[in-house]
Subunit: 174 residues, 6 copies
């Protein structure tokens, strides 16, 4: 049996990893759908799908679960009524979807899927927007993401990119 | 002669109904264009075009005006300069447009259409965003929409959907 | 109960009208979805959704069935896997789909809809592409479409438009 | 007064140049709209908008008419009913459109523009698709385009590109 | 050598003109890319690409630099990772990009382009969003844009348009 | 080092498998990009990205190479000039691209990538369009695809789907 988890993974953090491991206790394989795949270089979506794929792939290899994790970028189509059909046509077959997002719960629920929630591993710490803020403010973001992700973010100079984007947003628009 | 009214109808409320009746006093038929047709399951646009069509159709049947009302979903194209051409290519021919929206007035006015305003029937009460808030907060939204619309929203469990979406928006983003 | 029929209606001809009447013998109402709604001024799709809506609406009025016919333009999204979800989100609720098109049969069948075929009323005569050719070659196309559609096509000088487009296609491309 | 000419200019050839000069005999300035701007590297559209802009700009400089020629790339939107509005919103104001294309004549004519035809300077010779074929087959394409365009096509190794694309099209698809 | 400057030019103001002149001290020609070309009639983007092209073109003619300025509308594609490739495929070849925008600096820098900053000519005065506010509030916006731009904005009744859009935004949404 | 192979994999056949194995003799890992990911249920693209992902994943598991194969659906963007940037932003980092397609060779070559060709394993037999024809005509298509792919195609009744689509294409269009 396969379970699906959908996220933006900006970046992939320890909360995401916990959820993946939790799913693998209940399912043979996990499909990890990288949402909003076409976006990058924005405050909400700093990393490309390529970079996020790499972060997740390396983490799965490091954790020894790469043969049970199927990673798939999924573009946003901005039409919620088509979202479930779009995900189904893109990622390999799955039976359960794991999510704590009320809209996703609703959309997949209405489509007849079994929806399960994942436990919340200190959501205050493991939260994408907080981690991105820590990157901007010089906080200890490294504590909240897997080591191989820290490494990858350094290779692509991700913190500098987020700061450049953040300055942009504060800036008076032309 | 046909008059056009464009709205998002999220949901179709008594103010909309008043405007439709007012137009039918001046025109033989009314074209009701459901704008932002492709959106749904968001705070601003909770209902699908399908659901909004049904609300309007049932109301028109109930009011005995369905043979004079032509309902047409129109997708947003997000390019204002093409908007009038897009509406014209989608909905059946019309001669006057009724609107209180300054941008719509301007776009159709510049294109040479006769633009008329509708009277404002207690805009404080009959207002989509207020009705959506009443749905979230447990207010008496039912007073502000036609009975058959209340019925339809119950059938599709619309209030629950809006609350799910509202919780989502308040939520800390991943 | 409502039945759905999907077509491009380029133009709406007597075969389409027969199918609509057949559906109304089995259903209370018919939803007439105008497919490929965004296209016009091409050899395959000469008329706008607006013009096709008008043809169908006038025919339904003339036939006295306009209160039982719900006409809805539906844009192409060019992703077959999302097609059923897209139609469902756009047109008012329906229970059966009537079609003789193998792909449509398959897509709606896979989605769990009841699919019925309509009888074939002299398909050699009532066929959109043949009628368009008759328009180009000066054939008796008027015999194959409802009278009010003939009238409408004359009003918009539709035959001239098709000939202009046909010349274009034969032309050596720039 | 400004005249508009729309073309794909794949590549910009001597027939195009003649038309531009003819327009400048009747108008103060010519707006040269590069259509299908987003396409490149296909059999019908081998060159990018950037490359086509360069070809036209260099030719106008060489001919001493660059101060009277306004070059503007225009993307295809694939909805003919919106085409005129799209062109109008993109290129600087113009009063007459020059074209020999029946569809363009019709669309701008319906929109109320004055449409003029340009004389046909040996259309057998100055024709984009023939010139592209000459490039593939080793014919004397250089005779049919301005010298500075020949030069530019050599710089970007355009003939090799067209041949690569042509081989592709002949190839058995995967 | 050519330098590229990208802006939305809503409207083209004296700060933009200074930057263009500065670039022309360093380069033979300047490519002026009009970004967000498809948008208009919004608070952030009131003017069409057509209108902005005209403002810039007239200013360049007035300043006697029109033979050294290549104006090109560029649509937004809303995918930052493709932005540089998109600009390159649309505008004529350039070697240096001039920008003070941190994201643009980063994207073009990563792609290997030489990025230069322009001096900031009283950014408090020459700033698109402030000028648009002055238009709304009856401030002296005319001091901050070239005279021919003032003239053009009057011709198209641009101030009235911005006010109509501004009223819309303040308005309670339907 | 990683090598990239791009294909539509309609379906994934023994020629594709040979190419993948060949790449794995030269590289540590292979990135398998499923092109035209958004299309399905057409003659050229019968299977969804989901189904193609499954075919490839099962084959890699069967062959014991799933830990070295990174499968990624990539949507078509229909703008060749942006194609390389789009692939780079979607799939995990790679150093060499393997292809026999002249256009792909050209686009990646121009972008500075090392391009290698794969040996042609009886291209007459292992060819997507021939295999699809065999499915339609009752030929021995099973010989040309991996066993687990045969199995998968049977599970989803793929041959029947292709026949339905083929009948459609032969059919007189409405």
């Amino acid at each position: 049996m396969r379970g699906l988890i959908v996220g933006r993974f900006q970046p992939f953090h320890l909360g995401h990893l916990s959820a993946v491991k939790e799913i693998l206790q209940q399912c043979d394989q996990v499909v990890i759908a990288i949402g909003s795949a076409q976006y990058s270089h924005t405050k909400e979506n700093p990393f490309t799908a390529s970079e996020r794929y790499e972060m997740i792939h390396r983490t799965c290899e490091y954790e020894g679960i790469s043969d049970r994790a199927l990673i798939v970028p999924v573009t946003d189509i901005n039409q919620n009524a088509l979202w479930v059909a779009h995900v189904r046509a893109t990622v390999p077959e799955f039976r359960v979807i794991y999510t704590n997002n009320p809209l996703t719960m609703r959309l997949f629920g209405e489509a007849g899927y079994e929806v399960r929630q994942t436990r919340m591993y200190s959501r205050e710490r493991y939260c994408g927007s907080l981690i991105r803020e820590q990157m901007i403010n010089g906080g200890h973001w490294e504590q909240n993401v897997p080591e191989v992700v820290v490494e990858r973010i350094r290779e692509i100079r991700g913190v500098e990119r987020i700061r450049a984007i953040f300055n942009l947003s504060k800036d008076i628009s032309q």
